[in-house]
Symmetry: C2
Subunit: 282 residues, 2 copies
């Protein structure tokens, strides 16, 4: 579906939106961008990340064949509601959001019938934000997860596979929005909660000199963008709570083994843990 | 105190004991070793890691000026009890154990008056075991923590600083056994419990394809030696339980914020976490 005349619009030129733009420009596609921050637009124009950019020119929406939304989830929903009137019929719209169910439901419910929203999650990120850190090669080692629903068409799915291939993702997989959100709650959101709580449960500054790899590894992701992550957690609240409870139950069970000198019980847990973790190194 | 005629004996030629031996031999000291496994002794002799070795020759104890005990903590206490009769008067004895209070108390209570036990924790390790992995340069990036008590002499403390410098530790610090055990419970044991519980709370094999750096970083240490760690946890039980409770209370508090849509509360936690973690990168 994507060909060399396809016009792309990136809405929200942050780290991810900027990296999409850069990767597309590397392959000589036409890319425009909208961002409320004129400095981001200026930077992207000066650095050949986009062909055209504006803070508010809706004609960029109307000329686009593909719209990539790089906004935070709730801002994206608002933006779609307010700007869908400008889409050209047939426009393909995708996103970069790390949570899916509620967002997709809401958008696909109010979206015009003559355009298509096909959601995807590029599993890539850095601990920095802004188009200045955009990287056209950022997706080479990364997973791209598409989460189509019954409202998506074959054409829409073909489009999103095309896009993922152009962006050179290492691996493209398909999940239901529900499976996606559970996976992300367990593999990403829960580790972030743990890392954060490990940093906040105790004043540890006087211990810095003693920290080895273990503590550093477990807290690396405790430097966290508070606006984005409070939003991601809230949208995925019920699923994240259930994953947190799974972890907490296991933690309490281990606590009881230790408190009761159940050495064989602890060893069993260690053996299971070692066995499972080894699978990840294969 | 250590000079070029000082004779070292390493008891327990594992990864750490072997690395002590190798580092000492690199500096041309005389090093002997005792290990119940004849293959470890044979390997160490064949690879010039020790000058002399045996599975049971107590004359090696009697000729040593310095005894380094590389055994698991409870095995070390037993070994000391059974073999202290062979020490030469004036012998300096040290260890590599990751927990201190109970071990030191017990040993210093029964130990002969004419020898000295000065405890130390080399904060270095690998996910492998055995003298085959010994590395004479292993301590270059590592912390060495000495935990003297009122029963230690100035001479003993001078000796342990000498040893740490010969082994080329990056940083040598002194802590009370109590402070050491609390530090190690928080910075090392608690992260291990967390990593293990993250692996065991849910069957995650079907998720391997989706794991990014977060989950991998948080579970790297979930491959764990069940005999050693169940022992370390048990010896340090009360301190570890209190650190686990600190973490669990914070985790539950965060759960409540999320469950109650307390977005500002979550953001406050994220800001504190980010601020604290940044200190670790300086």
């Amino acid at each position: 579906m994507i060909n060399n005349t396809t016009k792309f619009l990136v809405v929200g030129l942050g780290l991810l939106g900027g990296s999409y733009a850069k990767a597309l420009k590397q392959k000589e596609y036409y890319v425009s961008a909208l961002d409320i921050n004129p400095k981001s637009i200026e930077y992207a124009l000066n650095n050949n990340i986009i062909d055209k950019g504006s803070t508010d020119d809706v004609s960029l929406i109307s000329e686009a064949d593909v719209v990539i939304i790089g906004l935070y989830p709730t801002t994206m929903v608002e933006w779609m509601r307010e700007h869908q009137q400008y889409f050209k019929p047939g426009t393909m719209i995708t996103d970069v959001s790390g949570v899916k169910c509620h967002i997709i439901d809401e958008i696909q419910n109010f979206l015009r019938d003559d355009v298509e929203f096909i959601a995807a999650h590029p599993m890539a990120g850095k601990e920095v934000k802004g188009v200045e850190y955009a990287d056209g090669n950022m997706f080479l080692p990364a997973n791209f997860i598409i989460t189509p629903t019954e409202k998506n068409t074959e054409k829409g799915i073909e489009f999103i596979y095309d896009l993922a291939n152009i962006l050179r993702f290492k691996r493209i997989t398909k999940l239901t929005p529900e499976k996606h959100d559970e996976m992300i709650a367990f593999l990403s959101q829960l580790p972030h909660v743990i890392a954060v709580c490990l940093m906040t449960c105790k004043e540890s500054e006087h211990l810095i000199a003693y920290t080895g790899d273990s503590f550093r590894d477990l807290t690396r992701i405790a430097k966290i963008n508070e606006d984005l992550w409070s939003e991601l957690f809230t949208i995925n609240k019920d699923v994240l709570l259930s994953q947190m409870d799974l972890f907490m139950d296991e933690f309490v069970a281990f606590r009881n083994k230790l408190a009761n000198d159940d050495i064989e019980g602890m060893k069993d847990t260690f053996r299971l843990s070692t066995k499972r973790r080894k699978e990840f190194d294969k």
